[in-house]
């Protein structure tokens, strides 16, 4: 009998280059902010633009997070996601109109309460619609990307047109609640109050999502399901149920994003979701399909870059995002943060 071969496992630390590689996407945000500072030159306009870029990025992230999770978990690509954004916006705005007395009052608590109610209504309704959407539209086409894309595009059109039928009109204008109008001055720069609120809400959603995904049992199942769905099912979890939950939650987030975006733009159209989808797709692609953190960083990059470029050279604003996507895909063809697929 021969002796067992020498077995001396070693635990090598991540090399410094590996660690930089992992952290690189997060580092891109401060790098971009710094580059913006150098390019713009004037600190006050830079501060204003940075805050509005962050606010825009946060709102895009809220809308994109659901899409990327749904893809990561169940390999479903939902082009109809934009419909939930539009629907959320219309429902939320209707509630805000209904609560006109609260939004016109000059008290911050009443205003916030009205917004919260609007968001709640929007999320409930989009969530409910998402449940039906998953059953009727998505479930029959699991596994076929081609059919998923076609069917969800069809559904997007139908829902958008239905919004036209129900609410009528092309554009609806609205005013922000009283206490959120105008701007505060900080270090000589004018910062719109609403944008600060948007940043706060976006950060809350991001850390809330991370908390749920990293620290709870359901988050564990979702993450495991993204990595290896067959194994999770073999362990006895009904992944389908989890998925329906994620789909509803993701669509409700889209509804929330819709309300936030409506208050940001102060005008809503049935096609707004469809227009947002362009930015959302860019964000999801550069972040890496299925990665919430990637979507977060991607959304901030897109928001900041769009605001900086719009200030420096207005005509290039939309093209700048395509440029950003190109550069990132050259650097990491799968997107900045890829989700390990072990199936």
């Amino acid at each position: 009998m021969s002796a067992a071969p020498d077995h001396t496992p070693t635990f090598a630390k991540h090399s410094i280059t590996d660690r930089i590689g992992q952290a690189a996407p997060y580092l891109l945000v401060p790098v971009l902010i710094l580059a913006g500072f150098i390019a713009i030159g004037a600190p006050t306009s830079w501060l204003t633009l940075t805050v509005s870029g962050l606010a825009m990025g946060m709102m895009i992230f809220i809308m994109a997070s659901g899409l990327t999770l749904v893809f990561g978990l169940m390999d479903i690509i939902n082009f109809g996601h934009g419909a939930f954004i539009s629907l959320g916006a219309f429902v939320g705005v209707s509630v805000l109109f209904g609560l006109g007395g609260w939004t016109d009052a000059a008290s911050l608590p009443l205003n916030i309460a009205a917004i919260l109610l609007a968001i709640l209504a929007a999320m409930l309704l989009t969530g409910a619609l998402a449940w039906a959407f998953e059953r009727v539209i998505v479930r029959p086409v699991y596994g076929s990307h081609l059919k998923q894309i076609l069917i969800t595009v069809g559904a997007l059109i139908v829902i958008e047109e239905a919004i036209h039928v129900i609410w009528g009109g092309e554009e609806t204008f609205l005013n922000r609640p009283n206490a959120l109008r105008g701007a505060v001055t900080f270090a000589g720069a004018a910062l719109e109050k609403y944008r600060i609120l948007a940043v706060v809400v976006g950060l809350a959603i991001f850390f809330g999502l991370r908390l749920v995904l990293q620290r709870t049992k359901i988050g564990l199942i979702v993450r495991a399901g993204v990595e290896n769905p067959d194994m999770v099912e073999a362990l006895g979890y009904r992944l389908r149920l989890v998925f329906v939950g994620v789909f509803i939650a993701g669509s409700a987030l889209a509804g929330l994003g819709g309300v936030m975006w409506a208050l940001y733009e102060q005008v809503i159209t049935a096609g707004m979701g469809e227009n947002m989808m362009v930015l959302i797709f860019i964000v999801v692609i550069i972040g890496g399909l299925g990665s919430v953190e990637g979507a977060f960083v991607g959304a901030l990059l897109v928001g900041l870059l769009q605001n900086y470029v719009a200030f420096l050279e207005p005509k290039l604003a939309l093209v700048s995002n395509i440029g950003l996507m190109t550069v990132i895909l050259l650097w990491r063809p799968q997107g900045m943060m890829t989700v390990a697929k072990g199936s």
């Binding site: 990307h145 139908v158 047109e161 989808m277 362009v278 999801v284 995002n321």
Partner: protein, 350 residues
């Protein structure tokens, strides 16, 4: 001879063969059978959309890739002709230069997009094309000094192709430049359609179908899937651009709404799905039915809306502006229940 022209891809269904023959004869003699400016315009639109939809089917039906940038390529061809005609003046050379430049630009752009998205995951392609197409549409409306913005461009084409050029009468139909223009559109579309039929029935086309069915296996057999997918994308883009050039020559006008808008993309998707994915004849049937319905059914909806004006909700639902909603419903239903479209049904049910 017919077999050779059809590249051995016979209709394989009697009803389908009759329908195709009807469409062909109808389009070939449209100026004589259906007099009137509007009917001729409809016929030319059908020709051009058959070509556009067939080139899209090369991508969607044969290769299994979803693209949302097809109208962008269509628009590139159209704007190529328009810009050349505006800057070089009226003349055949302007048309030729514009057409070639448009097709070349479309091919290069398709190659670049393919390089970035198809290399990694085919599913990226749908999203990236959507983003790029919308960026191009915004760019076109913003660079109004060059493109005329939302108003578009009007320009002159050679006199031989305009109604002002007259040369006699035949069967009571005045022979003029517009007739020549129509036959330019018709024969170019026919030739390019037959070329597409040749492409999909060649060994190259078979490889595309293999990739559609199972890209992993196709790769394992030794075909470089990325190369084939990119090649199909470029070909499809080039032919779409040619269709766009024809449309620009026919309309003597280009604008974002007629060539670049997302609505046209949706229309093309619908035509492919309704006619039948994965068969070139689906494009013929789908485009013909759709364009006819678009031109004549919408009037009917307007009448229905007027007739039901007193009732709640119904007039809103049948308003001609809600045309797209019914198309969407039809679209979803046909993806579920008739994934092979009209042509697939006819072929299966013979």
């Amino acid at each position: 001879m017919v077999r050779f022209l059809l590249s051995g891809d016979a209709p394989r269904s009697r009803i389908l063969a009759v329908l195709l023959a009807l469409v062909l004869v109808g389009l070939a003699f449209a100026p004589f059978i259906f007099p009137g400016v509007r009917a001729l315009h409809t016929a030319a639109t059908i020709c051009i959309f058959i070509l556009l939809v067939a080139s899209y089917d090369l991508l969607l039906g044969y290769t299994g890739i979803v693209s949302f940038a097809h109208t962008m390529f269509f628009g590139l061809g159209a704007y190529g002709v328009a810009l050349a005609s505006v800057h070089m003046g009226r003349g055949w050379d302007a048309l030729a230069v514009g057409t070639l430049a448009g097709a070349l630009a479309a091919t290069v752009l398709a190659w670049l997009i393919g390089l970035f998205s198809l290399r990694v995951r085919a599913i990226f392609f749908a999203m990236i094309t959507l983003a790029v197409a919308s960026a191009v549409a915004v760019l076109v409306s913003q660079l109004y000094q060059l493109t005329g913005g939302e108003d578009g461009l009007t320009y002159q084409i050679p006199r031989e192709l305009t109604p002002a050029f007259r040369f006699g009468e035949l069967f009571g139909v005045r022979l003029n430049g517009r007739l020549l223009n129509y036959y330019l559109v018709f024969f170019t579309c026919l030739a390019l359609f037959l070329l597409l039929l040749r492409i999909v029935n060649s060994p190259f086309g078979r490889v595309l179908q293999a990739i559609r069915e199972n890209d992993f296996r196709a790769e394992a057999i030794g075909y470089r899937v990325v190369v084939y997918r990119t090649a199909a994308t470029c070909m499809s883009a080039a032919i779409a651009a040619l269709a766009g050039s024809l449309y620009a020559i026919w309309l003597r006008y280009v604008g974002p709404d007629t060539t670049l808008s997302f609505e046209i993309m949706i229309d093309v998707l619908l035509m492919v799905v309704i006619g039948g994915m994965g068969t070139m004849y689906g494009a013929v049937i789908g485009a013909t039915i759709f364009v006819l319905a678009q031109n004549y059914l919408q009037n009917l909806m307007g009448l229905a809306a007027e007739a039901t004006a007193g009732l709640p909700l119904i007039p809103d639902l049948v308003d001609p502006n809600r045309w797209l909603m019914w198309l969407g419903v039809l679209f979803v239903l046909s993806v579920y229940f008739f994934p092979t479209g009209i042509v697939g049904r006819l072929r299966a049910g013979r």
